[in-house]
Amino acid sequence: MTNNNSAAIEVVDLVTHYGPREILHGINLTINEGEIMIIMGGSGSGKSTLLRYLLGLGVPTSGSINLLGKDITKISNTEMHQLRQNMGVAFQGGALLSSMSIGENVQLPLREHTRLDEKTMEIMARMKLEVVNLGGFEKLMPAELSGGMIKRAAVARAIVMDPKLMFFDEPSAGLDPVVSAELDELILNLRDAMKMTIVVVTHELESAFKIADRITVLDQGNILMTDTVENIKNSDNERIQSLLNRRPSNEEVKADEYLNRLTGM
């Protein structure tokens, strides 16, 4: 871990709504430079919503989100545009533009934000594809790649501008254990070699425990705990233990009661 305890991301009292429904109820979270923070939680816990707001894809009801010292709820569009050049995101399904080849996808941020010539952009894209073990695949279209390859190509596109902040949304979802382990290694390498601050939203426990410096557990729009892997594992919080041990939090339900619930009797 290369954590130097200076905050790269700071969320203060974040409250968000979806229509009339409050989703996040006052989130406070600090993520240090160079650390891998895992955001975990069950379905509907608010982890994907939190990620959307960290990415500046929504306007919160209240609270502030500081990325690299800038409050993205207050900065101008121009400042946000500049800040985005320091952010990389690997979406759950890759989100590669289907009308472009892999190489063109990886070149896209360079094309938009730099004045590099075609040849240099091609070389840079090829280098980043080699980082994710996709060297030689730049001419293929996204539809011609497997799920794991698409995710790796999405990582190549996300890191092509050498961002300081990197976000992953469910990187292991839908992948076999070997490919998933390769992606975990890649995330660790990005932190160690490129000194990135990395936020990973996931519910894959094995992957989370392997790569996390710290873990934040979300439940029903609240943070239950933010701590190291060991402390999370040893937590006596019932909801956290339910999540870690993959068991429902409710007491055991007898067969008769269950049938009654189903039939409404």
Binding site: G56, L57, R84, V89, A95, L97, S98, H113
Partner: protein
């Protein structure tokens, strides 16, 4: 708890109110999309974020050049159909030779822009809605945003620019194809030569007749693009949502085109 009685009139009023609010919301969204697109087209180059020229040319090819064969076939058929109807009706007064004036004015002022508009709404409007809708479902729009690429600049502005150029061009092409259709049928039916047909058409038409159709096509271009992209951006619910948005886009575009045509025809002929 006593049940709340709902009067049918109350329900109808509520429905009318909701529909009106939705219509105003949509009109506002179209206006915002148009304003933002124009901003990127006009101001983008000065803030070093221009609309990409290759993207505009690519859209012009897809929307315009690729549509030429089908526009020709339909417009030619419309020209033949108009000539058939007009010769049949004019025969009653023994004035078949006046078919040239009728076809020329009907085509340039009304049928050319209308048929082209409806055809492009079905062909390109639906394609825009489906493309942007699929990108929305696959988080490609979110990916553009987080890469610092404004989706309106990247997707909407080039489409709008290309459509505003290509629909008038296609309309003019459609006028020519329909006039050709009229000429072919007229020469067969009443033996009028192509030269004579062309001469009479040129003397019957004023520049304003052609420009009226071209002006309408600019309005139709706005309608097709804005309805298509706004339906694409509002897609939710996966592949089914994309299908619904595509259908809605075509139905709305064609409806708005026909209504706009009626309004403009009235005001342009006062």
């Amino acid at each position: 708890m006593p049940e709340t009685a709902t009067h049918p009139l109350t329900n109808s009023l509520e429905l009318l109110g909701r529909s009106t609010v939705k219509l105003i919301e949509e009109a506002g969204y179209y206006s915002a999309l148009l304003a933002e697109s124009l901003f990127w087209i006009l101001v983008g180059p000065f803030i070093k974020r221009p609309v990409r020229i290759p993207s505009i040319f690519s859209q012009m090819m897809t929307m315009g050049i690729a549509a030429c064969p089908i526009v020709f076939v339909l417009s030619f058929s419309i020209g033949v159909m108009l000539a058939i109807q007009m010769i049949y009706n004019l025969k009653t007064f023994g004035a078949e030779s006046q078919v040239v004036v009728g076809v020329a004015l009907s085509v340039t002022r009304e049928f050319g822009p209308l048929i082209t508009g409806i055809l492009i709404a079905g062909r390109t409007g639906s394609s825009l809605a489906a493309k942007i809708g699929t990108m929305q479902v696959n988080q490609e729009i979110d990916a553009l945003r987080v890469m610092g690429i404004n989706p309106v600049r990247y997707l909407v502005a080039p489409s709008l620019f290309a459509m505003m150029i290509m629909l008038p061009v296609l309309t003019f092409f459609s006028d020519m194809a329909a006039l050709l259709g009229g000429a072919v049928y007229t020469s067969i039916e009443i033996g009028l030569s192509f030269d004579a047909y062309a001469d009479r058409t040129l003397s019957a038409l004023a520049v304003v007749d052609v420009m009226q159709g071209i002006f309408k096509s600019l309005i139709f271009a706005l309608i097709i693009t804005l309805v298509g992209v706004s339906n694409g951006f509002s897609v939710t619910g996966g592949a089914e949502g994309v299908g619904k948005a595509t259908t809605r886009s075509v139905v709305l575009s064609i409806s708005y085109i026909v209504i706009a045509d009626m309004i403009f025809t009235y005001f342009l002929n006062l």
